[in-house]
Symmetry: C2
Subunit: 345 residues, 2 copies
């Protein structure tokens, strides 16, 4: 990981000493569940999942759902893995800035790039959403799909979260891996529907979540088919946004990429509101769940719904909390509903 | 089917008397294959399919492909079902013109709509690609996804091809249904990758081909998430093209919607060239096949590669034929390679 963004974005987090790598015969998501949802405490959240599966899979149930229609969608950042203090894909993009500027020196003096290169913590903290978008565009387009994949994989295999000193791909929530596995074991096709980059998440979705690349819906830009000097075809990542997979973009993306309304949807922020609403509007039993980050000890606590600071990453507003209550969406308390947070604990 | 387009677009085809509906306990694509590819004559095309499956699925083969990577993509019009004399989705759109004009009377005097409404055969035949696009846009957008689905389903359940007097969904090629089933039986995930509208094809893909909606990649426009007067959310089909799934758009669409390079690809026209090329550029054994419409008796014969008229629908040029030969793509002769064309024969 590039020291510039490490020093700045993650400056408040103390690095812990290296821990031995977790070594498992099978990945966490694929381990046999003798008891379903073992990392969950008994309570309304766990019960909502068990009840939903029961009423949608028992043949005699009035809410039985044919296997081919069993679709469940999961937001990623803050729902399946840690998003604090910053989305890991944004960290990847910040880390890529020096390499991009080396290739396009004219960016050296353009505001957001200059700020990142400066290593000045305050300046980086002041970057606007528009600035970040400019950085994302520059670092995620203009190269071949193959080049992007090689670079991003290298980063994913080396960059570590300073608090746990672990790869980002290790910081998945054990209880959610169990939900994915439990739903799949009951005939559900599990999808990631993320505001993150589709091409980025597809690189590790199978390994980390047991979700194949074709079941990842994310923010997506176009590609352009062309030929190299030897006439070999390849795809170039273009700076042309096709799908902004946040807010209303989530149901729109689900329609585009899946073409069916989900029966279950999981999120953790206002960006997931429309996905849960769209899911809930379907007939029959529908499961709508929101992860609340209220565990400052084992993970983090943030968001206005708890009267805590809005960290601008995974914002859980009071309005979302009220809407969940009104619509019968289940709020998962990380503190109370989860026995364990991570597989490595 | 609306008499206007019937008289005009299909004017040269003699309608045959109604035949009894085909009634099958299981759909054609799902029938057990005691002998694989029974509707195929022995020959190089059938052998290419058998060899490909054998070398990619036998564990000891150097070209073994892990099950999760087994992706096969199929063009639809002219590859899986009849496209002559006109793509059935275009016929649907022409049939929708009176209803669209009834709602937007100002279109009555706009050139392409006027031509369709006139019923004047010569004028309709003269419609340019741009005119057709204007008609497609007007008839495929501006309504809710639910309304579109209801209207298109009604059409699919009633419109008939004049030559066989059968629903369009019955005019699938039995040998290709067998290939789909044979590949799936060997762990391949089968996808449709069509220049046709994604939302249109998804309405019948499961029933007709055994391919679920989420495995249909097609020309796609955006949708917009909004609310009706009771606050219920719904998606509106927008006149905003996201993916033109023809030519280079096919590999681009495959990357967007699947994210993996196919191991097998089937097409029948220049619009499928890049998909086959992209498939063929991958390492290991890759199956690339093109259906040649050379059976004027049982189906149709057309295309410049045979010195026959270019009907502008599914054009198979001499250049494509030469490229297939050069690159080792297999050309399927409907006349020689297929024992039967349709399931109902």
């Amino acid at each position: 990981m590039n020291p510039i963004s490490r020093r700045t974005i993650l400056a408040t987090l103390a690095a812990v000493p290296a821990l031995p790598q977790l070594s498992l015969a099978t990945p966490a998501w694929a381990q046999a569940q003798t008891t379903p949802l073992a990392a969950w405490n008994d309570g309304p959240a766990k019960q909502a999942i068990l009840d939903f599966v029961s009423v949608t899979t028992e043949r005699t149930s009035p809410n039985f759902v044919p296997p081919e229609e069993r679709i469940a969608t999961f937001d990623q950042d803050g729902t399946l893995w840690v998003e604090h203090p910053m989305y890991s894909q944004v960290l990847y993009c910040l880390d890529r800035v020096p390499a991009v500027v080396a290739q396009k020196p004219e960016l050296k003096d353009v505001a957001p790039f200059k700020a990142v290169l400066s290593g000045n913590r305050e300046e980086i903290a002041k970057l606007s959403l528009h600035d970040l978008e400019e950085i994302l565009l520059a670092t995620l387009s203009g190269m071949s799909v193959d080049t992007f994949e090689a670079e991003a994989k290298k980063w994913l295999d080396s960059a570590r979260h300073p608090r746990w000193n672990r790869l980002y791909t290790e910081l998945t929530y054990q209880p959610m891996l169990e939900v994915l596995q439990y739903l799949r074991g009951n005939g559900y096709k599990t999808y990631i529907v993320t505001g993150g980059g589709q091409d980025f998440v597809r690189l590790y979705s199978q390994r980390v979540y047991g979700i194949p690349p074709e079941q990842v819906v994310g923010t997506a830009a176009g590609t352009k088919y062309g030929y190299d000097k030897d006439g070999k075809p390849f795809l170039t990542k273009e700076p042309k946004l096709l799908l902004n997979d946040n807010d209303a973009g989530k149901p729109e993306g689900i329609h585009l990429m899946i073409g069916r309304r989900p029966y279950a949807a999981f999120g953790n922020s206002t960006g997931d509101r429309e996905m849960l609403e769209y899911t809930g509007t379907g007939v029959g039993a529908r499961l709508k769940m929101l992860v609340l980050h209220d565990d400052a000890v084992r993970e983090y606590a943030y968001g206005p719904a708890q009267g805590l600071p809005d960290t601008k990453v995974g914002t859980f507003t009071q309005a979302l909390f009220d809407e969940a209550k009104k619509n019968g969406w289940t709020v998962i308390s990380m503190k109370n509903d989860w026995k364990r947070i991570f597989a490595f604990e």
